[in-house]
């Protein structure tokens, strides 16, 4: 745990006093202190291309009065700097007549260990794994023309000091291991990418030579794509595989159910609470409490313990994801969804691990039921316009389905749909729910935060596939 006051002229007593003094008539607010240590090591083009280490330290001071949020940050933790920030906040919030809400729930459950993954594995042994990846892939297949492999590790320590001196802390490890491979055959080039990660040490993810499985998966995806044909264009049935394809859920409805957009009534979902927004049998939760997952947090960035928030239950819209600010203005409670990229940013309601739960059908039944459509197994990124509800995501591995059988692989295509209506098109929900491998980063308002997704196989009756073949 970082001691933020150790090397500063600012004492905890000073900090408590400045915080309580500044937030005295505010509705909410806190001082957020953060220290992060991170590394990235990259092998590319047969060489260790870069090894970077980064250390970052700073605070963000927030004061809220009614609907107005004042924020000030600095990477200098000192008495002067905090006082300056306090003055900034006071000058923004001129007439403040709020009542500070001291209530913050507590839990004893920790979802990950206080480790620093960077120091748990030597640089040499990380370099060794990356070189093994490179050799393995290039030996394995003569058409491998490029290999990129990387480690990214981080330890982030945070402390939240609230008015009255209450302090909440968390230490968050996070790692990611990634392999990308490019193949060239008969003049065609295609890439395959795969990665794993979460909130444990590197070796927890790499035991039993697991790096080989990551290599194999990247290679498999690239090989499939080398044989791909142009994708079809138009509306058709789409079967989504389990796991990572759940970024459809994340984009299509996840963002639209974040509290801020609904308080502002700019989300396509803002007036649909209690209504049917998905087919019967579709249940979606956003769960921050699963051990060691990339999207999990013991407490969120406002100090609220995370929870398992039910968003859609058996097709009916049940809940939004809330941070403290939006929850207060909407007269409800925070769901532990208040997150920020780092101390430079304001807290926003965000997703954690967004999951569609299993039903009772099989992937086989879904494929067999489709005359003409596509089977999408893996995706790159996605995006949504939360107001119109339109969302997209890009296939990185997909196949055509003809007369109930999986056919040729098809080129990467964008799929587009309408958030509030897409889940009504779900006609089968599989019994094979799977978590993603731990690689997702969600972007909102210029802030990236680690997230997870999960889903079983699903059959969507109608979706537009953005290929080139008419």
């Amino acid at each position: 745990m970082s001691n933020f006051f150790e090397k500063s002229d600012l004492t905890r007593q000073d900090a408590d006093k400045i915080v309580s003094d500044t937030l005295k008539n505010c509705d909410d607010g806190e001082l957020y202190l953060e220290e992060s240590k991170s590394e990235s090591i990259l092998l590319d083009d047969n060489k260790i291309k870069s090894s970077n280490y980064s250390s970052d330290l700073g605070f963000g001071f927030r004061a809220i009065s009614d609907e107005v949020v004042a924020y000030s940050y600095s990477n200098e933790i000192s008495k002067d700097s905090l006082k300056n920030s306090s003055e900034n906040l006071k000058s923004t919030l001129k007439s403040i007549k709020g009542t500070y809400n001291h209530e913050i729930p507590k839990t004893n459950k920790k979802l990950y260990d206080d480790i620093n993954p960077i120091e748990q594995k030597t640089l040499n042994s990380k370099l060794e794994v990356l070189n093994k990846v490179n050799d393995y892939l290039r030996k394995k297949d003569g058409s491998v023309k490029q290999v990129t492999a990387s480690f990214a590790g981080e330890q982030k320590s945070i402390e939240i000091i609230r008015s009255g001196g209450e302090s909440l802390t968390d230490v968050r490890p996070l790692i990611r291991f990634n392999v990308s491979v490019m193949l060239e055959k008969n003049g065609r080039k295609e890439t395959g990418v795969y990665g794993i990660g979460g909130r444990q040490s590197y070796d927890d993810y790499l035991k039993n030579d697991n790096w080989k499985n990551v290599c194999e998966e990247a290679l498999r995806i690239a090989s499939v794509n080398l044989e791909s044909k142009p994708a079809p264009a138009g509306e058709m049935k789409v079967v989504l595989g389990p796991g990572w394809p759940a970024i459809l859920i994340h984009e299509a409805i996840g963002h639209g159910l974040e509290g801020d957009f609904n308080r502002k009534k700019t989300s396509a979902f803002h007036n649909l609470m209690g209504q049917k927004v998905a087919s019967k049998g579709v249940t979606i939760v956003d769960d921050g409490t699963i051990d060691n997952r990339r999207g999990s947090l013991t407490i969120d960035d406002e100090g609220t313990p995370t929870e398992r928030t039910v968003l859609i239950e058996n097709g009916i819209l049940k809940g939004f994801m809330q941070d403290r600010h939006n929850a207060r203005l909407m007269n409800t409670k925070s769901t532990g969804s208040g997150r920020r990229e780092n101390y430079r940013h304001l807290v926003l309601p965000r997703m954690r691990n967004t999951m569609m739960l299993s039903g009772n059908q099989t992937q086989d039944e879904m494929i067999k039921s489709v005359d003409k459509g596509i089977f999408a197994v893996s995706f790159g990124g996605g995006q949504v316009d939360i107001t119109s509800g339109k969302f997209v995501f890009n296939c990185t591995e997909a196949y055509e389905i003809n007369n109930g059988k999986i056919g040729s692989p098809i080129k990467g295509a964008t799929l587009i749909g309408d958030g509030p209506s897409i889940l009504k098109e779900v006609s089968m929900v599989g019994n094979d729910m799977m978590m993603d491998p731990g690689i997702g980063t969600c972007g909102k308002a210029g802030q990236g935060v680690p997230v997870g997704v999960a889903q079983p196989s699903i059959l969507i009756d109608k979706m537009t596939v953005g290929g080139t073949k008419l």
Binding site: L57, V68, S81, S388, K390, G412, T414, T464
Partner: protein, 438 residues
């Protein structure tokens, strides 16, 4: 107050001295300071205000051909010392790479022309609030607008880049950015659109009411969209979208993508990549330019580059490391392009609309559907159906797809180029792309 050059120089030389003392054969340091103030408005009321004040340091140490780097925001001498030590220790065990080196000394920049990138004017938050009030008054005037959001950001920064070959230079810059987001609603739909303006000098900022009005008009125009059928059709890309396609092109000619063999434009120098009418220029020395630079992130002087001339690809974007791999000198593009633009075509916007009896005007794309390895392009889109030069109705929930290799050869540009951002394009038509809809 923004830290002056002297402060940043003293920190930079402290780092370089430490690195050399420890035994680094070369070193390079960047120290920067940024102060930024943003005011956010929503529905004509203050919503948030934030102020940031941040220092940033990055150090690279070399031991012959070994290299490692460190970044930090903590500029206390004691911390810097720990970091430089760590960086040096990591360098020792990092394998050699024959292409690692500081830039060639004779390519380093000597600043001459003053590009006027810094305006010291302080636009007080009270004035930002007045600006945003006026903006939202205009934006919320039409009945169909149900929500307005806007923001004003003032940014001032300064940096110094120094290396062990004696290079030590940097510059101050400022930017003033205002944006308007509007939501419109009718019985069938709810839509959102935005407009923004950014400039180096406060006097050049667009009128608040003009920005709000334009954002509102664009949003209302999108209401009650239809989905169209799947077909091959000519697309007209709004400038906002056309400049994105130009940025994708820039990504595909970066020396890094070329040297790794992961670009569809590899080995295409002096070949016909665009139609003969097309010229692409990257010009670093535009006075007050949003993308203007005296030198790149390694200190190499950036000259104007004609990237594409009469449709022929003339230059890659070269930095020192990848240049050595490709056997090309750096052309000062470490960190990417500067002010990048397509030169004007020779027909007007109206003529472009009338060019075909039926076309689709793309006002918005969503998703990241460009594959630089294969050139395959597929994104979600929204826009308007155009018939005989007239806007007929809004269209949404469609995708557009093709391959960039073919698209580049089928571009026709209008003559309505304006220099508003760091990447700029006239309105662009691309013939024969696939739209997927119903």
């Amino acid at each position: 107050m923004i830290k002056d050059q002297e402060f940043l120089k003293s920190k930079a030389s402290y780092c370089l001295d430490l690195a050399k003392k420890m035994g680094a054969t070369d070193a390079s340091v960047t120290v920067g300071h940024t102060i930024s103030e943003t005011v956010n408005f929503r529905n004509k009321n203050l919503e948030a205000s934030d102020r940031s004040d941040g220092l940033a340091l990055s150090i690279e140490t070399y031991i012959d051909k070994k290299r490692s780097s460190i970044t930090s925001s903590n500029l206390i001498d004691e911390n810097i010392k720990t970091l430089v030590e760590k960086c040096f220790e990591t360098t020792k065990i990092t394998p050699e790479d024959e292409f690692n080196s500081l830039p060639d000394k004779n390519l380093l920049s000597k600043k001459i022309k003053n590009l006027d990138l810094y305006d010291q004017t302080r636009f007080e938050n009270e004035k930002k609030i007045d600006y945003l009030k006026e903006l939202e008054e205009a934006a919320s005037e039409p009945d169909k607008i149900v929500n307005t959001e806007s923001s004003f950001t003032e940014n001032k920064s300064n940096f110094i880049l120094a290396n062990s070959d004696g290079f030590c230079d940097g510059w101050k810059k400022s930017s003033f950015t205002a944006s308007s987001i509007t939501v419109a609603k009718d019985e069938n739909s709810m839509e959102r659109d935005y407009e923004y303006t950014s400039c180096r000098h406060l006097v050049d900022i667009k009128e608040a009411s003009e920005l709000g009005k334009k954002s509102a008009e664009q949003t209302i125009k999108k209401l009650s969209p239809k989905k169209i059928g799947s077909e091959k059709i000519n697309l007209i890309f709004d400038k906002k979208i056309a400049k994105g396609i130009l940025s994708t092109f820039a990504g595909a000619i970066s020396a890094s993508a070329i040297s790794r063999g992961t670009s569809f434009l590899k080995d295409k120098i002096n070949q016909q990549v665009f139609s003969k009418m097309i010229n692409v220029v990257d010009k670093p020395d535009i006075v007050k330019g949003i993308g203007s630079k005296y030198f790149d992130s390694e200190g190499v002087h950036s000259k104007t580059l004609n990237l594409v001339q009469d449709g022929l690809l003339k230059n890659y974007l070269v930095d020192t490391y990848n240049g050595k791999k490709l056997n090309l000198p750096s052309n000062g593009r470490s960190g990417g392009t500067t002010n990048l633009y397509f030169e004007n075509g020779n027909i007007s916007f109206e003529e472009l609309l009338r060019n075909s009896s039926k076309s689709l005007y793309i006002a918005e794309t969503i998703g990241h559907g460009s594959n630089l390895v294969t050139g395959d392009y597929s994104v979600g889109a929204a826009g308007y159906l155009i018939e005989n030069g007239e806007f007929k109705y809004p269209v949404s929930e469609i995708t557009i797809a093709g391959n960039l290799k073919d698209m580049f050869k089928n571009i026709i540009l209008a003559n309505d180029l304006e220099f508003e951002y760091s990447v700029n394009s006239p309105t662009m038509m691309v013939e024969g792309m696939t739209v997927a809809g119903k």
